[in-house]
Each structure stands twice: as structure tokens, then as C-alpha cells.
Amino acid sequence: MDHQKRSTLDLFNTDLATELRLGLPGSTNDQPEIKSNLSGNKRTSSESGSSICTDENDSTFSPPMKEQVVGWPPVRSYRKNILQEKKPTCETGSGMYVKVSMDGAPYLRKMDLKIYKSYEELIEGLQEMFKCIIGLYSEKEGYNGSQHVPTYEDKDGDWMLVGDVPWNMFISSCKRLRIMKSCEATGLGTYCV
């Protein structure tokens, strides 16, 4: 496990918002290339006149991922910018940092969710960071048996148990994390999403 200490005087590394930190395990950035517009997917110039596209499969017409299409969906820039500002997590290319609190701890931490690919890794990271034991998740019992229960605040402002929804859904809706003491968390395991 790597711990990277960065000096505040390190002028050559400007990607991270935090300058001095104890890095989390495996915290290197590798972002997939994002195509900024559709021209990369354009039909080849050898096509002339009308082209018949079948519904099923048209290699020159593969729908690009939503994020990669310029100006789609047709929402005005002002409205899009407002949404970007509203997101409490910073989803820029350099990471997805969320606040993490633990009941009883004197201060909060910040964690980059993008470095984790699964709940197992996330729980491991949390355990490392806060020196606590969270244990294993089960659908029926939540984190029964452990002293600490990981919860998160979702987009609607509700506090949810970590682990119930698919990882991708969790990543896109998690605004912040809170590690609750299990005595406070009774009843949380029975939450229905």
C-alpha cells in the first residue's frame, strides 16, 4: 500500500485539490480518454448519397455514450452549469472526493471514490482510514455484528446503507459518507431503497 506524501511546495503536481495528504491506497489517476464530440464517430467519407441504417446494428451509427455527445441532451449551458455547481462532489477528471465522517471522530476526512472499483475495496479503504472494523455486508442483516456501519447520503438527501445498490448506482448517487456506531444504526439495516 502506497502512502504518498506531497509537499505543499511541490509545484509540479497540480492535479489534486488537496496539496498535503496521506494518500489512500492506489491513488493514481488514470482517466479514460473522453471524446469531446461526435466527429470521432462520423460516418466514413466513402458513403455517398443516402445510407440505409438498420435499426439493429450500424457500425457507422453506434450511439455514443451520452457524456460524449456535444450538445446532447439539448439543455442550455446555463442550466447545465448550474447542475455542475450543485453537485457537492467534484466530478472533474481528477477524482470524486466525498466527505467522510465517523461518529466520535474530531474531524472529517475526504476520500476519492473513483479509486475504488467495488464495495470490498471501499470498505477496506474506510477501515484503513479510520482504523475501525466494519466487516461484511449481507443483504438481510446489513453489517450486523460489527461496531461500525457505513452509510451514505444520496442525491435525495436520504441516508442509506452502503452496499444495497449496485456499485455504479452507488457511485453516481453518493454525496457523502458517514460511519455510524452500530448502536445508533439499529433499524438502518431494514431500510428499503
Binding site: E47, G71, P73, S77, N168, S172
Partner: protein, 583 residues
């Protein structure tokens, strides 16, 4: 066709030569000065030469929907007495970053002519124009009686330009700045309104981001007794809103600031009380970060509301229900899809008078479901008067839209945006052709249509066959061949504006509209299958069209990836940047 927009000179059939007397010009002018509708004025001007003259001499307002369709000199020559101008520039898809910077639509060339021709100009409303600070200062200094400035979706200026307006326009009644791409360099601009300016009736700075001096705003609101529209920005909090409302209970339209505030309960009561004194309020907007904690302050005015814009408030169905159950008079409602289908059920059950609904996506790129077909259905059942819908969703079904069409046959504007390109009916996996077919078949008054989802040429065959009143059509990621576009171009006689992106329509589709383009305002086609040759052919056949290709340096030289075609009497643009090629 609006001759004013096209700038087409009328060649009159003249008066009957056997008649010895005609109505005196002064009489005609006075009569026509009572006609405000531009459509009516257009008709009037076509009757005969005398009427044409009387109309043009008495006209006070002109709308130019495409700034390149006519030159400012032509407008000034025809209409000498104009006091109010509405001017629109860039193609609508520039709102979605499809038009490169520096494309044009600079207002200054118009202002230069207006300064001499219309020194008494009072109102200027600009949409999608390029406006610089220098231009704003020019307006402020060259038109003594200038009263009303409205900038919507414009770009190129900063708050410095607003300073100039505030400083010099002594009779300003309206300043309406909305959704522009501007450099917000700070909130000082508002402080430039002089102490003796008391004429303001409309002030909208809701989309500016920086803080203004609250003291100066308070003083302004206090001394402008005729203020009826006030829309502040997010930086104004509830405490401050309270102070402003106390000073201006006469407001008819209010845009609040942020609702995120820890108000002590006494203050909440105060605010609710203050709202209860606003008996004229019929329009509300703003509501950033609103929650049920403080939303109740608006309850006293809900009963009178006709337009409620909650499109910046990410509220859920519970909050919406609370508001709507008190807002039975609503005619127009804008919400975010966080309200979900449940929220739309509340719309259906409370808002019987609703005529317009817009549902915006909270996150256009999120995979999460916001609203679905059942929300749309619920609204169509509960709101029989609905005629305008803008609906962003992740998924839709043909069956639902067919039912919606039957429930609401009076649609004039149907804009459905299924956010994933090529998305089929999610239940049957079929194209969405039948959905839009039903809309055009049933809604005979349909004027505006935006289609989405997986669509074959059949959808367009329906449009061409049934949408006889269609004026505006937006198409993206749809169709299977040139026939799609041909059906529309041949079938819809009243088309005015067509915008197409990412469709497999090629040169023959483009050329199929030959006879239509001169009666249309404009055609936009981007990322279709057009070639330079096809566009050249169009340009050769139609002399009074500007056929412009926006070149991308990554383009194959024979391809025309962005094409903008519009009728004009002003000839090719003289201000085209290097990447715009007029053929």
C-alpha cells in the same frame, strides 16, 4: 410569410384606377397604429400600395427573427418610426454548443444604423446575439429615451456593460438579463443606478452569479414604486428577500434567491406574512435549494399563481404536492424531474387549468430514472387543457404517447426528449414511430414538434402526411434514409424552422426541400450526410438563399458537416468568419 422578417419589398397591385378617392393616409396611419399584432400588420401591408405605406409609416415595433435575413439599412428604410426592436441571431442549436465562437450575429452593425435612423429607440430585445460591453455602452449613450433592454441567451459582454446601462439610461424601465454567456466580473453594476432613477418596472438578474450590493438593491426597489417584476439571483437570501418584499408588495412576478437558510421560526412567519400581502403576484421562480423547511412561506400566494417556475429547485413529489394542492389556478408549470412520476400525478390531480408543462432533467448525464411514461400519462389525464409540453425522460413507450395524444388533442407544442439517442420503446423494443404518428394525426393544431428516440422513416412519413400546421421541427439521431427528410419537406407546407442533427439525410434530402426554403426562415443540418457538392447545387438553384457551411478543420473537404440555410434579401454575409463558407 412575414415580409418584415424577410425584408421582402412589396410590389403592390395598386389601387383600382377607376376609383377617384382613397382613404386619406393620415386616417390609415391612425387606424393602423392601433394594430399591434405583427401578423395583422403583415396582412394589412399586402392589401395595396397605400396601405403598405400607411402601415410602414405607423409601425412602432419590428421583430427580425434572423438578423441575416435582412440588412439594418433595409429595415430602417422601410420602417422610419420604429421605437422597439426584437432581434434574433444565431441558430437555436448554438444554445447547445453546436455553433463555434465568433460565428457572428454581432449587434453592433445594427446599432450603428439605429443610432441614426432611430434616435428615439426605446426597446431592444436580443436573443442569441453577440453583444459586447462596447455595444452596451453604445446603447446607453446613443438613445436618450432608451427604456427597455432584454438579453436572452446572448454572449460576449460582461457586467461592465451593465454598468454603462445603469449609469446612462435615465428612463430605464426594464433590464432583463437571462441565461447569457457573460463574464460576471462582480456585482458592482447594480450600484451604478443613480439615486434619482425611479422608473424601473422590470429587473431580472436571476442568472448572474455574483453578489450585488444588497443596500443598493434595497434602495433601488424602495424608490422604484412601479416595479412589478423582480427576479434576483441566488446570492440573495431569504432574510434579504423579506426586506425587498416588504418594500414591493405590488410585485406581479418574483424570482426568489436561495432558499437555503437557517431561519428562526419568527422570521419564517414574517416572510409568510409578507407574502400574504402580495395580492398581485401571479408568477414565481427562483427557489434555489428549496426544501419543505421554507417552501411554506409562499403558500399565501399560491392560490393566485398562474406561472410557477421550479426548474432550479430539485424538489421531490412531497414538496411539489404541498405547493400544487394550493395552486389550482396554475396555467404554466416548470419543474425538474426530481419530482418523479409521483410528482406529475400531483400535477394531474391538482392543476386542471394547466396549459403548459416543462420537465427538465436534474442531471442530463445521469442514468437514474427521473420521470417516465406514467408521469406523462398522469398529466395528460388530469390536465385536459394541456397544449404545450417539454419533457425530458430516459424512457418512453409508444402506447403511452398514443394515449397522451388522445387525452390532449389540442397540443400546439410537443417536445419530447428521450435522452439516450436511438432509444426504442422500452417495453416493445420497437421504434417510436407510432408515438409521433399519433401526435401528428390527432393534434391537428401542432405547430412545434421535437422528436427523439429510435425513429425510422415511417415517423417522418407520418409527419409529412398529417402535420399540416407544423412550423418548427427539431430532429436528432433519427430516420433511416433520405426519404425521411423528403417526406417532411414535401408534406408540411407551413414549415418555418427545421433543425436536424446526426441523421442519415444526404444531398437528395436537402434538395427535396428546394421549393420550401424560400418560405421558411431557416434550415440547420449538422452531422448528417451532406456534401459540399450537394450544398453548392442548392445554392446554385436558389438565389435568394444563403447556403452556409461551417467548416471544421477536422472535416473531410468534400463533406459539409454543419450547414445553415436561410432566406435573405441581404445577400451573402459580409461579416462571415473564415470558417463560414457561403456557397
Amino acid at each position: 410569410m412575414d415580409p418584415a422578417a424577410a425584408g421582402v419589398e412589396f410590389i403592390g397591385t395598386g389601387a383600382d384606377p377607376t376609383r377617384s378617392s382613397t382613404l386619406p393616409e393620415e386616417f390609415l396611419k391612425r387606424t393602423f397604429s392601433l394594430i399591434s399584432s405583427e401578423k395583422d400588420r403583415s396582412s394589412v401591408s399586402l392589401v395595396c400600395k397605400d396601405w403598405y405605406n400607411a402601415e410602414r409609416l405607423s409601425r412602432r415595433h419590428v421583430t427580425i427573427r434572423n438578423c441575416y435575413s435582412v440588412s439594418p439599412e433595409m429595415v430602417a428604410a422601410r420602417f422610419p418610426a420604429i421605437r422597439s426592436v426584437t432581434l434574433k441571431g444565431k441558430p437555436r442549436f448554438s444554445d447547445f454548443n453546436l455553433v463555434p465562437d465568433g460565428w457572428g450575429a454581432d449587434v453592433q452593425s445594427w446599432l450603428n444604423v439605429f443610432a441614426t435612423a432611430y434616435p428615439f429607440l426605446e426597446e431592444l430585445r436580443l436573443k442569441r446575439m453577440a453583444v459586447t460591453d462596447e455595444s452596451l455602452e453604445f446603447i446607453a449613450l446613443n438613445f436618450d429615451g432608451f427604456k427597455a433592454l432584454s438579453l436572452l441567451s446572448c454572449d460576449g459582454f460582461s457586467t461592465l456593460g451593465l454598468e454603462a446601462i445603469a449609469t446612462h439610461c435615465k428612463n430605464l424601465t426594464e433590464l432583463d438579463i437571462q441565461e447569457n454567456g457573460i463574464d460576471d466580473l462582480g456585482g458592482d453594476w447594480l450600484s451604478y443606478f443613480p439615486e434619482n432613477l425611479t422608473s424601473l418596472e422590470v429587473l431580472n438578474f436571476s442568472t448572474l452569479t455574483s453578489e450585488v450590493s444588497f443596500d443598493d438593491l434595497e434602495s433601488l426597489v424602495s424608490r422604484c414604486k412601479s416595479l412589478r417584476v423582480l427576479k434576483v439571483n441566488q446570492k440573495i437570501n431569504l432574510h434579504q428577500l423579506q426586506k425587498l418584499l416588504v418594500l414591493a408588495p405590488q410585485l406581479t412576478e418574483l424570482g426568489t434567491g436561495t432558499f437555503m437558510e437557517e431561519l428562526v421560526s419568527g422570521s419564517v412567519n414574517d416572510l409568510e406574512n409578507t407574502f400574504s400581502k402580495c395580492g398581485n403576484m401571479h408568477t414565481l421562480s427562483g427557489f434555489w435549494d428549496a426544501t419543505l423547511l421554507h417552501l411554506p412561506v409562499i403558500y399565501p400566494v399560491c392560490g393566485n399563481l398562474t406561472f410557477l417556475n421550479l426548474s432550479y429547485a430539485n424538489i421531490g413529489d412531497v414538496e411539489l404536492e404541498q405547493i400544487l394542492s394550493r395552486s389550482k389556478q396554475l396555467i404554466r408549470l416548470w419543474v425538474v424531474d426530481t419530482v418523479g412520476d409521483k410528482g406529475l400525478e400531483a400535477v394531474g390531480s391538482h392543476c386542471q387549468l394547466l396549459e403548459e408543462l416543462r420537465v427538465f432533467p436534474v442531471d442530463p448525464f445521469d442514468q437514474q430514472i427521473g420521470v417516465t411514461e406514467s408521469g406523462l400519462l398522469a398529466v395528460s389525464i388530469g390536465c385536459p387543457k394541456l397544449h404545450y409540453i417539454l419533457y425530458f425522460c430516459q424512457r418512453m413507450t409508444n402506447a403511452a404517447v398514443i394515449t397522451v395524444a388522445q387525452n390532449c388533442p389540442d397540443f400546439t407544442h410537443f417536445r419530447l426528449c428521450i435522452m439516450s439517442p436511438h432509444e426504442p420503446d422500452y417495453l416493445t423494443n420497437e421504434p417510436m414511430d407510432e408515438a409521433f404518428g399519433a401526435i401528428v394525426k390527432t393534434c391537428t393544431n401542432l405547430r412545434r414538434l421535437s422528436v427523439s428516440g429510435l425513429l425510422t422513416d415511417l415517423a417522418f412519413e407520418y409527419v409529412g402526411k398529417y402535420a399540416k400546421n407544423l412550423e418548427t421541427l427539431s430532429v436528432a439521431f433519427a430516420g433511416t434514409s433520405d426519404m425521411g427528410m423528403e417526406y417532411v419537406m414535401r408534406g408540411c407546407p407551413k414549415l418555418k424552422r427545421v433543425e436536424i442533427r446526426d441523421c442519415p439525410f444526404g444531398d437528395s434530402a436537402l434538395l427535396s426541400g428546394l421549393t420550401q426554403y424560400e418560405s421558411m426562415r431557416s434550415l440547420w443540418m449538422s452531422d448528417c450526410n451532406l456534401t459540399m457538392n450537394g450544398c453548392k447545387k442548392l445554392a446554385e438553384e436558389m438565389g435568394r438563399l444563403n447556403v452556409e457551411v461551417i467548416k471544421d478543420k477536422d472535416d473531410d473537404v468534400s463533406l459539409a458537416s454543419k450547414v445553415y440555410v436561410y432566406r435573405t434579401v441581404a445577400g451573402p454575409r459580409k461579416d462571415a468568419p473564415h470558417f463560414v463558407v457561403t456557397l
